[in-house]
Symmetry: C2
Amino acid sequence: MKKLHITGLGLLGGSFALAARQKFHELEISGWDTSEQNLKDAHTLGMIDKAQELPDEDVDLAIIATPADTLASLVSATLDKVGPESLVIDLGSTKSTICKALADHPKRKQFLAGHPIAGTEYSGPRAAFPELLDRKVMILCEMEKTDLHLKEKAYELFDALNLKLRFMEPDEHDKQLAFVSHLSHISSFMLGKTVLQKMEDDKNIFDMAGSGFASTVRLAKSSPSMWAPIFTENKDNILEALDGYIENLQKFRLKIDATSGEDMKSEMAEINSIRDILDLQS
Amino acid sequence: MKKLHITGLGLLGGSFALAARQKFHELEISGWDTSEQNLKDAHTLGMIDKAQELPDEDVDLAIIATPADTLASLVSATLDKVGPESLVIDLGSTKSTICKALADHPKRKQFLAGHPIAGTEYSGPRAAFPELLDRKVMILCEMEKTDLHLKEKAYELFDALNLKLRFMEPDEHDKQLAFVSHLSHISSFMLGKTVLQKMEDDKNIFDMAGSGFASTVRLAKSSPSMWAPIFTENKDNILEALDGYIENLQKFRLKIDATSGEDMKSEMAEINSIRDILDLQS
């Protein structure tokens, strides 16, 4: 791999650039970001060698790492620009919309739909670090629609970055992610909001917050420009997850109100089984 | 300080024992736990020198670190046993009930109501570690009701353990903790439940979970025996916090359903202000 282009030099795009740089010493990286400050930072941090909106025609890989609502047009414009030996990859957190939008593109074979399960609550190039992707899961969708030979170029990068590949259909991806990622962000944002509202009465309320609160509210620091489009694109699945969550909260509320200590205990003990599942992963 | 007694040798009691042991080399520690296994583990881990249900009469400090619903009777029994030079401290996560229960005890002056803002999602002596309390906040309630000379003994321990003391009334404590601790546990348990329910359809759903999910659901590993009594004792404040939370979720749900991207963005951007507050603390 000789030439890499990255559109969107934030946490994810920037981390790909830094990690690729470490693994491929001769690599030439071009990149773009609509934020001038991000573009400047990306230069300073050594992420890109040159700033340009679209990749060179002979680019090996072009990675599009921008908010979900901008992906379809950017992937399309990038495909239009590149030559036959280039692969364009998106890293969006929803996969149905982008796959549908690209279905009839004449260069569909040169597109790969991906989603690395990696991130922090911070955003922008200064939040990026090369280890972000190390040993993380990379989901790939509609694999059969991408050219076999071009996929090898993607594998070369993914393997070098220690990404663990998983393959699933876009619909299945969006359903699962609504539950194990998108819902967590909503619960965290609303928890943050509830405590901020309370702070209007109790100025010092945060002094009493411990590590448990910090952990559950961490995602409320996340970028609104990134998350609002995800909530929109994956609306149906997210509403299903959110309705289930609200119903569970309301049922548990009844148990608290009824002072049903034993009921609460047995419900929580069942949920404790999540320990084994989470521990398996780490 | 020569003699310390700890009732309840779990995460918190055990960590107090281990930390006190490091700071006071001549200290004799007695202790008790209703779980035989915990008592055995506490011996093995060097937390206690001898197992006994109640402290010696000449104990300096007796710390009661058991679930909230057992505190009043244990503190009372311990006060009845000890001599005039002993101080009894509870570490419960709710403070109104215990303070009311002890209000008319003839030895009220020998009792100190405390709550260290420290913990993890794990429980039992094997989860304890001496650094758990280091530089954590220790809330003390109804300070004026405790004997001045006996309080000095508590300060000696708290200072040695680098605890940062805060003083508040029990009602205020319980109100604030409902928002910044108890609500987080409920949100986390119910998030865990929602995803476990979904797992019945999608066996592999947890494979797709990233660090964001792990962070928001971490507290769902917590001990039901510890948390059910807290939800009961602090019911009114928790219901207020939970109702505010559910209302916020329902309102945000409407924005998702209406595809109100800009509305969602501006709401999340406001909540992002929690960044500065959380960063101040760490």
